[in-house]
Subunit: 201 residues, 2 copies
DNA sequence: GTCTATACCTGGATAGAC
DNA sequence: GTCTATCCAGGTATAGAC
C-alpha cells in the first residue's frame, strides 16, 4: 500500500467532503480545491473516483478499528465500553447535527446509487456490530448479544438522523440518557456498584 | 394549483425516482424515460428541477396528512394509532430494505446538499411528530408527549437505516415487537383490556 | 402542450509536456 | 509527480417549430 504524501492528502480531503457533501455530489474539483492540486493529478494516484471511495472506506475501517481497540482497553467493564460507543453521539454532536452519521449516511447513499462499494461501506457497521455484540456477550447475554448490538446501533442511528433534521442538541442529550438507563437493565447487579454516576465520563 | 395530466405524471415519477435513486442522482432523462415525454417538455410545467422537488415534497406532505387522518379515525385508541405508525415499517418493509425511509433519506440528502428545500422536507417529519405527540398527549403524557414522539420517530428511523444496510427482515420484525412492548408501558392499564393480541392488526 | 435542436456547463477521464 | 490541454458523456436549461 503506497503512502505518498499527496495520496494521503487526497484520501483525507475526500473523506471529509464525502461526509459533508455526499460522495456523488463531491467532484474532483472540490477535492483539488481543498488540497491545492490539479484535477489531472488524481489519475497518477487513483484509476477512478470509485477507487478513491474505496480508499476512503478502507481508511475509515482502519480508524474505526483503532478506535474500538482503544475503547477496549480504556474502559474496564463491558457496560462502560458500550457507553464509550454511545458517547460519540456527544463527541461528534455538532457534525452529526450538520451532516448526520458518517456511516449511516454513506451506506444510505451507496444503497440508492446501487454502488459496488456498498458492501464495503456496510463493513463499517459490521465493525461496530461485532464489537458491541462482544460486549453484550461479556455482559452475560449470549443468546441476545447480536440482537442487542443491532438495537444499540439502530438507536444511535435514529438519534443521528433526527438530530440532523432538527439540529437539536437537547434531543441528543435526552436520548443518550435514555440509552444509558436502558443499558443498566442489561448490566448484572454484581458488576453495578455505582448506578449512573459513571454514565458518560 | 394546476393539475394537468402530465404535470401529475412528472410529480408521480419524480417522487418514485427521488426515493429510489436520490434527488441529485435523478436526471430529467430518467423521469422522461419513465413517463415517455421529452426532456424539453419539463419546462412547460416547471421552471427548474428544484421546482419539481418542491412539488414532490408538497405531494408527499398531502399524502402523509391524508394517511394520518385516516389512521386517526380508523384506530379507536391512541395506542392503536401509534401502532398504525409503527406498522408502516412492516407494510413498506421491502422498499425500506432497498431504499431506506423516504423521509429520513430525503432530509439527509438535502442536508448534505445544503439545498433550500431542506426545511420543506423536514415538514414531513413535523407531520409525524405533531401527530404522534397528539397521541401521547391523549395517552396522558402531557409533559413528555413531544419527547416520546421524537423517541418513536428516532427509533423507527434507526430501524429503517439498519434494515436498509443489512436487508434483514427478521430484524425489522424484532424491533417492531420491541416498540410495541415498550409502548405498553406508556398505555394506561384502564385502557388496556387486551395486551398484545391487538398489536399489529 | 409537446416536440426537436441546441446552447452551455460540469463531470470524470486521457494524453502528453515538463 | 505534477501540470495543462483536451475529450467526451451527461446534466440543466433555452429557443423555436409544430
Amino acid at each position: 500500500m503506497k503512502t505518498s504524501a499527496t495520496r494521503e492528502q487526497i484520501i483525507e480531503a475526500a473523506d471529509q467532503l464525502f461526509y459533508q457533501q455526499g460522495f456523488a455530489h463531491t467532484s474532483f474539483s472540490d477535492i483539488a480545491g481543498v488540497i491545492g492540486i490539479s484535477r489531472g493529478n488524481f489519475y497518477y494516484h487513483f484509476k477512478s473516483k470509485d477507487e478513491i471511495l474505496d480508499a476512503v472506506i478502507n481508511e475509515r475501517l482502519q480508524n474505526t478499528q483503532d478506535m474500538l481497540d482503544m475503547w477496549e482497553e480504556a474502559a474496564s467493564t463491558p457496560a462502560a465500553r458500550i457507553r464509550s460507543y454511545i458517547h460519540i453521539l456527544l463527541t461528534n454532536r455538532d457534525k452529526i447535527m450538520r451532516y448526520g452519521c458518517p456511516v449511516g449516511t454513506l451506506c444510505g447513499e451507496l444503497a440508492k446509487l446501487d454502488h459496488c462499494e456498498r458492501t464495503e461501506s456496510i463493513r463499517l457497521f459490521d465493525l461496530f456490530r461485532t464489537w458491541l455484540r462482544h460486549q453484550f456477550t461479556q455482559l452475560g447475554h449470549k443468546e441476545d448479544a447480536d440482537r442487542l448490538a443491532m438495537h444499540v446501533l439502530a438507536w444511535s442511528q435514529g438519534v443521528a438522523t433526527l438530530a440532523n433534521a432538527y439540529e437539536d442538541k437537547d434531543f441528543i442529550d435526552q436520548e443518550i440518557q435514555m440509552i444509558c438507563t436502558w443499558l443498566e437493565a442489561y448490566t448484572p447487579p454484581a458488576k453495578r456498584p455505582q448506578h449512573s454516576s459513571d454514565a458518560l465520563h
